[in-house]
Every structure is written in C-alpha cells, then in structure tokens.
C-alpha cells in the first residue's frame, strides 16, 4: 500500500489508499491519522477509489481509526468504495458504522457542511 495525504481548501484531510489495505500495512494508516489528529486535523476522508482489496485487519484498522476520531471530536468519512469493496463492509455490517460517500468530492462536501 501507498497512500497520499493532502489537505483540501475546506480543511478536510484526504487520504487516498493505493493498492491493498491489509495486515502488513494497516499500521501506517493508523499512524498517519494519529499524527494528523495530534496536529489538530478534525475532518478526515479516507478514499478507496484506487484500492484493490481490504482484509479484516484493514477493516479493523478503520474501526480503530473511527473510534479514535470520534473520541477526539473529529469526523471521518470513507469514499470511493467500488461494488466489491462495499460488499465487505455490508457483510461485516460496517456500512452501518461508517459514513460512506460515493466519491471523495461528495465526502468533502458532507464534511464541510
């Protein structure tokens, strides 16, 4: 996995996951969000439009991130899940835990409101 992190004009911290989010690399994502939270970021979008697949460790990392973000009074949205990736969230009921947007642009709009 590689990811790119950028801050949008409206103050949303956008992380794009490229490749897989699995047991071997999930800690990098958790660390990136933890650092951004420490630096005062409060609006997060994690985008999966360039992601191949996610395993249960990756889902678990997202659950941990979501919890941490909420505890800090921050907001998180996930975006860009294709039909296959979305099925993983539906099977695990995590589609009810996360705010999901079709695109990063929609997620940013939702976070900016």
């Amino acid at each position: 996995m590689a990811f790119t992190a950028t801050k949008d004009d409206s103050g949303v911290y956008l992380i794009r996951i490229e490749g897989q989010l699995i047991v071997g690399n999930r800690q990098e994502l958790k660390a990136a969000v933890a650092t951004a939270l420490e630096q005062g970021e409060r609006k997060f979008c994690i985008d999966f439009s360039r992601t191949g697949y996610i395993d249960s460790s990756g889902l678990g990392a997202l659950v941990s991130i979501s919890k941490k973000v909420r505890e800090q009074g921050a907001e998180l949205r996930l975006s860009g899940l294709n039909e296959d990736l979305r099925s993983l969230f539906e099977l695990t009921k995590l589609d009810t835990l996360f705010a999901l947007s079709d695109t990063a642009e929609h997620a940013i709009e939702g976070l900016s409101e």
Partner: protein
Amino acid sequence: MTAPLPAALQLCVRRRPGPLGASVQVSLRVPSDVGCIEEVVDLLLRHCTHRAWLCRRMRFNLRVALAEALANAIVAGNREDRSKSVLVEADLSGDQVRVEITDEGIGFDPAGITAPLLPDELDRPNGRGLYLIQQLVDDVTFNDRGNSICLTLRRP
C-alpha cells in the same frame, strides 16, 4: 547484528490438459512474513483463475479469502516466527478451485470465534477474519488440529 533475510518463496506448478481446460496444481512454501501476503495472493490468482466461470466478483472474493487465511496462518498460527513457514496447496480442476493453507502452529478451535456483527460490537477491531472467509467462498473446512484451513470456490 543484522536481522536474517526472509526465506524466499518456494513455488511448484503442475499443469495437465483436461476436457474442461488444463488442471493446475500449485504448491507454495511461504515464509512467516506478512510482507509476502500480497505477492502470494497475486501468484495464486495468476495460476488458478483462468476459468471463464470465475467472474470478477469470485476472483475478488478468492483474493480476500486467501489474504485473510494467509494472515491467520502467519500471525495467529506461526506467530510470525521466521523459522516457521506456511504451506499453500492449490488445485484448480473441473469446476472448482480448492486451496489448503497449513501453518506450523498449535491450531485453534474455529467454533470459538464469533464475529462482532451486533450494533454494540462493531467498535471491536478484531474477530472478522474467519467470518469473512466463510462468507466469501463456498466451503471452509479445518483439519482436526485446527492448523490447516481448506477453502473451496465452486462454479455457480
């Protein structure tokens, strides 16, 4: 003192022509290194999914189930002990793909694991792996010791 280099993957592929297309047997010895999972999944998919009935969703499901089972074998089974390895044996023949993944751990009782699916459990970061595998492939079985899992995906 420098850390030992991870052992290389050991791959053996056998192909035999057949009436429904070539059957393929793949045997792979994988070091207990989570960094290998992506490569192993790619290798298996490359050799074991050349059947027209394996649609995009089935390939995706197999990919995730394999990554999941390998992670369980390396992390929970072998506890990432680099002196241990994971044996992967895949068989694509007729109308099914069957993959057996065996670690060198003490095994576990799959009946003792429940996935966090209820609303007040969703914040739990762990426990979804086996459940996901069971949802993504047609059949999941274990040996008696619980250190070997067999995944089967069948033609719909």
